[in-house]
Subunit: 432 residues, 2 copies
């Protein structure tokens, strides 16, 4: 929708058609866990950013809901659009593939009671299931950010909640165990039964879910949410010869061109350049998807915008514990050929004597040879998450540990100790 | 104390004597308004970071309280130390001037009921005055951060509070009127009677304060706090020939040497290099003072540390409204010879649909010729202040508007809209 809107805004004579398989266009997928948990109130419309009708009326876009592109012919620039009861051969000049990512579902699952959040309708289905069936026991498969947020949502609804994660600490591998340990604790303190180091091999039941199984155990569950990461649906791209890269994502250049004449690709099904390694990565996150849309929209109307790459910055929270990460972890830095050095420090969110100061743990990863900062992670109380932006800016600008230790970061007793956690972590990492 | 502690830690054989005019060494001056307002509980010890006894016992420093250096002879490396009933000629090898800044008191004031916060004893005196005299009406002179914090403290104590500021908007000139206007509103909404554009010319009363006078008006007040900025007490430095610069502050090089043999200077009485203009500025803030102390402590024991300069980053709050600023304002950029362009945008602290999203106003100042970001300011609800660090890092690293607009900043619905306020402000400033 961003690509469509930007293109139309740049060139009002352009005829822009949007084929959307579901019933909603722009909505906040990231908001679904909070809506299901009841933090965000109202019906599903609360998460709708732009309705199809608004897109037609206000932006002049030909939006077609419940319409799927089933075939693409890049040579003849035609697409087959299928909707309930209709099939159209559509002639285009430029096509933008923006199919998003879908949750990984690595095994067959029962038809009822198992959910993976992608479309708004998935969230609506889960909400309805919870309201109607009133399950008492929930199992979340996967301890990444979707898993964490859904566990919070279930706990918030007063359900008996279990989270099964195939790593030892939550958010691993994007959050290293030094900080993930804290998450394990807060999740358990909230009453979640945390099962770590176990991979779910099967979700079983007849038509309706009954249990979640690992190699050695079986856990009862009346509702299951899969948070095992996302994968790109790339059959259309593959059909016209667009190459795929990490995670099976489509490979594009910095202008969002696929290399196939007239075919562009943007969003969660596309691999993008990591700023630190310079290599393509699959990081399906909202900001990048939006940014890619803008760039494609500008370029397919004659612009020359470039996608600047990503650091994989991400934030989430579990209740009042916030988490942020950006850049490379120490193992990822090692793998990318750096000579990493890292330090984890404990600090606080306010001056020590100030009421309400929350513990903060911050980790900085750098390249010992050059001093360049490669990554950072943080866990702490309210107000912690956006502190990761300081390091996202620093890493983007290729700051060294000396730079970070020297930064003129904000201090006042209600907001920080005199020495910012990042400055201390950088100094410690420098010492090695 | 930082210089003393670091020097001793580097060289345990060094004999380090600290002459402190007051009764306390390390304490949090920045915490005083919150202690007086009652946010920080306990007696004055709550603000003490390190007691003289601890410094002696744990750090091996010869700390002398209520001891003043009244004369300095750099040629013979002697200092006269005076304490109640004692006078000593002290022989030194190296002397570090760390006399701090004192509040500006630009007119004579009555002996009772007028306070300016510098030493912990000033805070203790004000606290005692409030507890014993139970004044109902307070007047704060000056609308900078000390003025704001003290107005909050008085309001928090339920007092009728007036704030007189000689500019049209609070925090001006470090915060431009576009954002200061919001502060004016929240301060008034809290019940503070705000008088702007009026300079206080006199604080009158016999022995005890009665009123605060401007050119045209007189305001009754039973207690007055002066927040008209700070000035460096530099008589010792001047006596031995240390040159002074902006604001009358002592001029040192990046190693904290004054140019006079054996004489170093650090802290709030010292001018430091601004990273953007490259010129010396007088920015008496805790972080810089601490950093200078570390550098002097390292260098006078044989190290070679350099002070990296400042951006003048500052944060404060009034109740739940937080303010941050870093780098140059538009007028300051103009004055420094840049060709400034600026934009102010309105955004929110969370996704629009997320409960509790607070409005944020962000301003970015850049050089039109090079695109380089020169300054940033932000005002908003809880969690806003530390967002300034993103721009402090960006400006430190000489980021351009394009860089900031491209940064991979953190997004999740509880923490941010998809597009970070800084990215939007940078994009708007770029458009001009």
């Amino acid at each position: 929708m961003t690509a469509a809107s930007v293109a139309k805004r740049q060139d009002s004579k352009l005829q822009v058609t949007v084929a959307e398989a579901g019933r909603h266009i722009s909505f906040s997928a990231c908001g679904m866990p909070y809506w299901i948990g009841g933090n965000v109130e109202g019906d599903e419309e609360a998460l709708v950013v732009l309705s199809a009708q608004e897109a037609r009326d206000k932006r002049g876009l030909d939006v077609r809901l419940e319409t799927r592109v089933t075939e693409l012919d890049a040579e003849n620039r035609t697409a087959i659009l299928e909707s309930p009861g209709a099939r159209e051969e559509f002639q285009y000049d430029e096509v933008v593939l923006a199919t998003g990512a879908r949750p990984r579902v690595p095994f067959p699952v029962p038809r009822h009671g198992v959910f993976a959040l992608r479309h708004l309708d998935d969230g609506v289905g889960l909400q309805r299931f919870l309201d109607q069936e009133k399950p008492r026991t929930a199992c979340v498969v996967g301890g990444g950010f979707v898993g964490l947020e859904m566990a919070e949502a279930f706990v918030h609804r007063g359900m008996e909640t279990r989270l099964v994660h195939d790593q030892q600490t939550l958010m691993h591998p994007v959050l290293e165990p030094e900080l993930g340990e804290r998450l394990n604790e807060v999740v358990q303190e909230a009453g979640v039964e945390l099962v770590v180091g176990e991979r779910v091999t099967r979700v079983s039941g007849g038509g309706k879910v009954k249990s979640v199984e690992t190699a050695g155990e079986s856990f009862d569950a009346e509702v299951v949410v899969l948070g095992r990461g996302a994968e790109p649906p790339t059959s259309l791209g593959a059909a016209v010869g667009v190459p795929t890269g990490p995670g099976g994502a489509l490979v594009v250049d910095e202008s969002m061109r696929t290399g196939i004449e007239g075919v562009w690709a943007v969003g969660d099904s596309v691999a993008v350049k990591h700023r630190v390694t310079g290599k393509p990565v699959f990081v399906p996150l909202a900001l990048h998807a939006n940014r890619m849309g803008r760039i494609a929209g500008q370029n397919l109307t004659g612009g020359d915008a470039r996608f600047p790459g990503v650091l994989g910055t991400l934030v989430t929270k579990f209740r009042s514990t916030e988490v942020g990460a950006t850049g490379l972890t120490e193992p990822a830095a090692q793998e990318a050929g750096f000579n990493p050095v890292a330090a984890t420090i404990k600090s606080g969110s306010k001056a020590g004597y100030f009421p309400g100061s929350q513990p903060i743990e911050a980790r900085v990863v750098a390249d010992e040879d050059t001093g360049r900062v490669l990554g950072a992670q943080i866990v702490g109380g309210a107000g912690t998450a956006k502190r990761i932006d300081t390091m996202a800016a620093a890493i983007w600008m290729e700051a060294t540990l000396d730079d970070v230790a020297s930064f003129d970061l904000a201090y006042a007793p209600p907001f920080n100790p005199v020495w910012d956690p990042w400055a201390i972590a950088a100094r410690m990492a420098k010492r090695g």
